[in-house]
């Protein structure tokens, strides 16, 4: 199969671009996969996004997929697309660790539903990606710490850290992450990519290592909104294996991407600024305000909105997910606490100290917030807010006890609590060259409108075309070498 992209960096093609070339047989999935493996070998030693790399199986799958496409059996926009998975999605025969020493020898016997769907769509698995231990905030429990490709001295955002880094640095075409209180949107924002929190129930949670059953969401992380729409279409849909899975039909999200947002109303979260304004980095505030102005100039109507009890979203979320996390890992705490890192240990133990009264009160607040957000979303189509309170912090300044800081999570956590879809889309850069993200949240099951507005914005402000600076000074073995050696040994 010819390669019709001479002179282009294959690893920075969007999924849509690569898919178009693959469909026309102008690009070989083998060449595309090899381009990613070469890129990983060249730069992942500096950013550490991969925990497990699968070069042999990826190339074998690419050759198989190439045969299918040549034979005229093109399956769709993910056919032949190399992807990465946060290391909490079960993959048959491939270690799935949740980023923790507790699970470092765990090899699932079947795929998570989302993984099965991506494989069925013909995507090629490059490997499993680094993550904060057990999807909590903070450091990885095993492997090297992922680093932000825009400045490797800065954090990549947690907990889908490797997913954010790999997509931003051209180390996969798209990735999956999980989001319990912001873990898709934070690394998306800090790495300058798109991250989508789908409606709770829209994407099956079956086969994902849990942190909090009622708050965990799985979603795509990509360079463009269009790519997120393509991935969501594949992974969404009812799954009888997940008791909270929605039976609602899955629309063709790409049809919503018209670029026209005239007549839509964007609500600006005034309460967030009134309560936390001084805590939001001024460059983030300026970038988000400019983005809202852009949306207005594109034909959207903008008005201020309030979620009266927003300030309680953070503590309600913390109580629920630490309590549920404790329930998930009580036995681990009882028998293998020494195998857990200090940060996850502190938080999981704390979940065991909250009382039933705390959990019930948090759930009642959740109900209240759900009604308040629903009221707002009757007046406006989307709610806009910063995806994070600032650009990526330097590692040396990162406080691992960040959950104690309520301001950080309120405007992201609230959408996990109420189950609404929300996206982070790049909306600029700080003076130091670090990305900033705009968050847009919509009505339950209405990812189409969220994607529609984010897509229109990205057409006007295509920050996705800017990539992290070239990686230099790389030295030492990468995970690629380790994986290759393991494949050879076996």
């Amino acid at each position: 199969m010819p390669t019709g992209t001479e002179g282009k960096e294959l690893y920075y093609l969007t999924i849509e671009e690569a898919g178009r070339l693959l469909r026309r047989k102008e690009l070989s999935p083998v060449d595309l996969t090899q381009a990613y493996l070469d890129r990983i070998q060249a730069v992942d030693g500096q950013v550490h996004s991969y925990l497990t790399l699968l070069p042999e199986s990826a190339l074998a799958e690419a050759r198989r997929v190439e045969g299918e496409i040549i034979a005229g059996n093109y399956r769709g926009p993910l056919h032949g697309i190399p992807i990465g998975l946060k290391d909490l999605f079960d993959t048959e025969g491939v270690p799935t660790t949740g980023g923790s020493r507790v699970f470092q020898d765990r090899v699932p016997s079947r795929d998570a539903t989302v993984v099965a769907k991506l494989k069925q769509a013909g995507s090629i698995l490059l490997g499993k990606l680094t993550m904060s231990e057990l999807a909590m905030t903070g450091p990885a429990g095993i492997g090297e710490e992922a680093r932000n490709p825009w400045n490797v001295d800065h954090i990549p955002g947690s907990s889908s850290s490797g997913s954010g880094v790999a997509v931003a640095a051209g180390l996969c075409a798209g990735a999956l992450g999980s989001d319990t209180g912001g873990s898709v949107r934070f690394p998306a924002s800090l790495n300058g990519i798109v991250g989508l929190l789908p409606t709770y129930g829209r994407v099956s949670r079956y086969g994902g290592i849990p942190l909090s059953w009622s708050l965990d969401h799985f979603g795509p992380m990509t360079r463009t909104v269009e790519d997120a729409a393509l991935m969501l279409k594949i992974i969404a849909g009812h799954d009888p294996l997940d008791p909270t899975s929605s039976a609602a039909p899955v629309p063709d999200y790409r049809r919503a991407l018209t670029g026209d947002i005239k007549g839509l109303t964007i609500g600006v979260l005034a309460s967030f600024y009134s309560q936390y304004g001084q805590s939001v980095h001024p460059e983030t505030t300026a970038a988000v305000e400019q983005a809202v102005k852009d949306l207005e100039e594109m034909g959207a109507r903008v008005e201020e909105v309030e979620i009266p009890h927003l300030e309680y979203a953070s503590i309600a979320g913390v109580v629920i997910y630490l309590t549920e996390g404790f329930a998930c890992y009580r036995e681990v705490l009882r028998t293998r606490a020494d195998d857990l890192g200090d940060i996850i240990l502190r938080y999981l133990y704390t979940g065991g100290l909250f009382t039933g009264a705390d959990y019930v009160q948090a759930q009642r607040v959740r109900g209240l917030l759900k009604r308040e957000v629903a009221q707002v979303l009757k007046r406006v189509d989307l709610i806009a807010a910063p995806a994070t309170t600032g650009p990526a912090t330097a590692f040396k300044d990162f406080d691992p006890l960040v959950l104690l800081d309520a301001r950080r999570a309120a405007a992201s956590n609230v959408f996990n609590l109420v189950g609404s879809p929300a996206i982070s889309v790049p909306c600029g850069f700080s003076e130091a060259g670090l990305p900033i993200g705009l968050q847009l949240a919509g009505r339950p099951l209405d990812e189409a409108t969220v994607l529609k507005v984010a897509y229109a914005y990205q057409q006007r402000r295509p920050f996705f075309k800017k990539h992290p600076p070239p990686s230099k000074n790389w030295a030492g073995p990468t995970p690629w070498d380790t994986a290759k050696q393991r494949d050879q040994d076996s």
Binding site: Y200, Y349, L353, F354, R366, K370, L404
Partner: protein, 61 residues
């Protein structure tokens, strides 16, 4: 302020007996949440019932 003794009792109820080293790690985190917990419980939620979980089939509910 919760003492180490009280923390131990709470952990015992949960079927755990963490080491002193682990207690020292957990204590400041839990103490750090106490003020926010107090604020959470100070909310007058009147007849607000428990939301067991989001029902994806019923976005309004």
């Amino acid at each position: 302020m919760v003492t180490n003794q009280e923390l131990r009792l709470l952990f015992e109820r949960a079927g755990l007996s963490p080491s002193q080293e682990h207690l020292d790690l957990v204590s400041p985190v839990f103490q750090g949440f106490l003020e926010q917990l107090e604020a959470l419980h100070s909310l007058d939620l009147e007849g607000e019932e428990v939301q067991g979980g989001f029902m994806p089939q019923d976005p309004e509910g």
